[in-house]
Symmetry: C2
Subunit: 147 residues, 2 copies
DNA sequence: GACGAGGTTTACGTTAACGTAAAGTGCTTG
DNA sequence: CAAGCACTTTACGTTAACGTAAACCTCGTC
């Protein structure tokens, strides 16, 4: 029963060259610490398009990367709609219409500007945090001094 | 009618030393490009606590800074609850209980870690964007070449 | 062949962060 | 003093991003 490596799922899964590996929804969910529901929802929103094997969803490397990018976008506060916009244009690239491509470049510039503002926000917030931290330590030191 | 600088609101407002300046809700809203509703909502959520003059809210420099920090937090994807947590502990600092202070330091460390992950996310997403940008430009060039 | 572990669809519920509308207060300006 | 603005409270509506529950397959295993 262990001679048919047709689609070995679990045991020697990490022996495959990764590009050919497939994932179930549960596996992906575990990897990224989200629920299957979340993954299905992202599909419904047009962010993922796994193939099917009968009724079950089959995720490939491409889908895994998509999910990773989506979650990264979310951590940065982007909405699913924004993320989808970029992802879909990216997919439409190969047979790219010139107008579409220019639009994509605009979009990318927007995102870049967004990221830069975020970097500045991070820088400032770090300064604030360091300041508060310092003051808290000072107060604490004063409290512990008169022993 | 222009001799009483008691609480001059508009005309020579920028002549005041800023620390004494006060703002109406509408002014603040305009400055930060949010609606008054948003500002009231933040108050309701415990993020702002303007004084009153009769029924009207009076915002001082402190409130303006609070709002600025709040909006910065939002841009970074923090929830109002998270922001409030830090803000409230900050306010409780002066009469600080040692346990509270240590808790604050923990919280700050958390936030810092969060910011660092975000920076990494930004770095990676920039790489992605630059890559997509480059490929889009390449395709575009090929489309325009055979004139 | 019952069953438990995973998968599936469908559908209603929930939370955060406001938007929007109604109805009232207070000043100042023609 | 009527009109208009900017403010107020109260309350219901809305959207995004899932959570949760029910009811159903399908497969390997005891």
């Amino acid at each position: 029963m262990t001679q048919k490596p047709d689609q070995a799922p679990a045991a020697d899964a990490d022996a495959l060259p990764r590009q050919q590996r497939t994932y179930t929804i549960g596996e992906l969910a575990q990897i990224f610490e989200v629920t299957p529901r979340t993954i299905r929802f992202y599909e419904q929103e047009g962010l993922l398009a796994p193939s099917r094997q009968g009724q079950k969803r089959i995720y490939r490397e491409k889908d895994r990367v998509r999910l990773k990018l989506t979650l990264r976008g979310k951590r940065l506060g982007f909405s699913l709609a924004e993320i989808r916009e970029v992802v879909m244009m990216y997919d439409a690239m190969p047979d790219g219409n010139a107008r579409q491509l220019r639009r994509l470049l605009e979009l990318l510039a927007e995102k870049r500007a967004n990221l830069e503002r975020q970097q500045e926000d991070i820088r400032l917030m770090r300064l604030e945090i360091d300041d508060v931290d310092q003051r808290a330590r000072d107060v604490l030191r004063q409290l512990e001094k008169p022993l």
